[in-house]
Amino acid sequence: MTARSLGTFVVLFPHERAKQGVDCMDEKRIDEDKAAEGKCDTPKTCVAEKKGISEDWMALWIGLFLFILSLGIFAGTDILGWGVTTSVWTDASKALAPIAKDFQGIKGDITKIDGQKLTLKKADGKEETVTVKEDTSQLKVGEKYEKKGLTGFMSLLYTYLFLLVVMTIAATALKANIGKFIFGFTVVFWVSYICWIIGSWANIAVTTPPDMKKFGISWSLKLTAEAGFIVALIAGLIVGNFFQGIGKAIKEAVRPELYIKTAIVILGGFLGVVAAEKLGLATAVMFRGLCAIVEAYLIYWALVYLVARKYFKFSKEWAAPLASGISICGVSAAIATGGAIRARPIVPIMVSSLVVIFAVVELLVLPFLAENFLWKEPMVAGAWMGLAVKTDGAAVASGAVTESLVRAKALAMEGVNYKEGWIVGAAATVKVFIDVFIGVWAFVLAIIWCSVIECKPGERVRVVEIWHRFPKFVIGYVITFFVILYIGIKFPGLMGKTKAAMGEGNVFRGIFFTMTFFTIGVVSNFKKLWEEGIGKLAAVYLLCLFGFIIWIGLFISWLFFHGVKPPVITG
């Protein structure tokens, strides 16, 4: 158990507490993972049990493990090459394939032999050049050549089995119910991946007329291949709101925070490659992201607090966590602030349950707004997702959807092909900075509260709380980012291998993303909005979020990111 995952409501030893008559609820620690995943809605069910390590630390270890395996390419060992990747398809049987060429099968007539390179004419009439290991002197032009490889389905099956083993070990460390986890993870994985495959159907995904011609289709929803994320989210929402029995049965593996944090650790390496290619731009994006969140913290929080206190007549105990939850980073911030001002646990828990629901609404709406109005300012769009959408999962997920929609629109409208990774990178950068500063913000609030507003008996403000609230998965993100950045800058000759390695890691990042979307849907129970008494909370949330948080976020993002464009792919 780590204090980061638990909103800390305890600062006193039992004998001190008894002496000073502190409210017993102050002893309770809220399990932030549970709250963020909508698995609890009362102080009783949200209390952390002292078992296992936190999902925060676990995401760090899983992400680093996959990252290290992907680096096998540098040692000449393609450890993750069998991982499954999905292409846009019109024939579902051809949608899946292993990520690495070495694992793919190929068949055709030899048209050219050049050393170890063979050019083959395949059954579909297309030519492909492959590098082979066998003695090519025995081969002749015109002969048939076939190399057996993994089928797409077997690649998917291996990917599932591998992740099942890794995640079951993780579940053991998290002290989950293993039987239920294996069942739940199996459902989560297969449903998520099927949604991903559906989203890659050409009639849903293809965005440009040349591609429509290439696939031989007359219409397309033009949602890009990332439409699979939306399909997964909708599937999750259906399960979470209409088939709650299924949701309960798979609950043990419904862990959107674990999945997204693992994905963010892997994303660090991918963004390292992106940054190494344009270091100056990457530095600018990071600094501007930092500026944006400083502004957001100072302006958002104070405005929401004012609205909640003055116009909705909330007490200080309710207004402060509400302000943090709505304005900063949802669940983590609400719980951290609740701890800082020593609110009773019910306050941040109720705020958290609203945060989870409204984050899904934002996730469904904002990327499409960004596509329509910000496609000429892609980095503004990415940073906006990081600033406006609450919870790590929904924010980075929104960044991913926004990136694909904005890139596709820019390509279709102006023929500009922005490099992948920069828009989601802006969203992730802003979100990671927000996460890092939650502890600092809670610390500052605790000092202000205790010194000038209301100091409860026995309250102590400790600097160590900043570390306790520090999101540990960020350490993994920083490690993967800087390791790859270092390799990219110091050894530019290895860039090809670095890209291949991160490409393989990216396969798993995509799968964790998709599982995040599905499980976010499962935990978003909109019936919560009908609960007695939630109306007033929901009203202040709606008013602040859609009244000014989103728009101030847009202004701040525009201010710091307008004119900053991702590199363009030419040729």
Partner: protein
């Protein structure tokens, strides 16, 4: 008896949101809170200009 105790325990352990909000007493906005809000927004507004200048001057985004 046992059921009543159970119900009481459930009530104490799982406070209802509606009841909690009803129990909430009106607390007028204190001058110190107004000051906190004012300082926070003022600092944020002031920093906008400084941070914008720093980012444009030292971290240009054009490439």
């Amino acid at each position: 008896m046992a059921e009543r105790a159970k119900a009481e325990s459930a009530t104490t352990e799982q406070p209802k949101l509606a009841e909690e909000l009803k129990k909430m007493e009106y607390e007028p906005l204190l001058p110190v809170e107004k000051k906190l809000i004012g300082w926070s927004i003022g600092l944020g507004t002031g920093l906008i200009f400084i941070l914008y200048w720093v980012s444009v001057t030292f971290f240009p985004g054009g490439h």
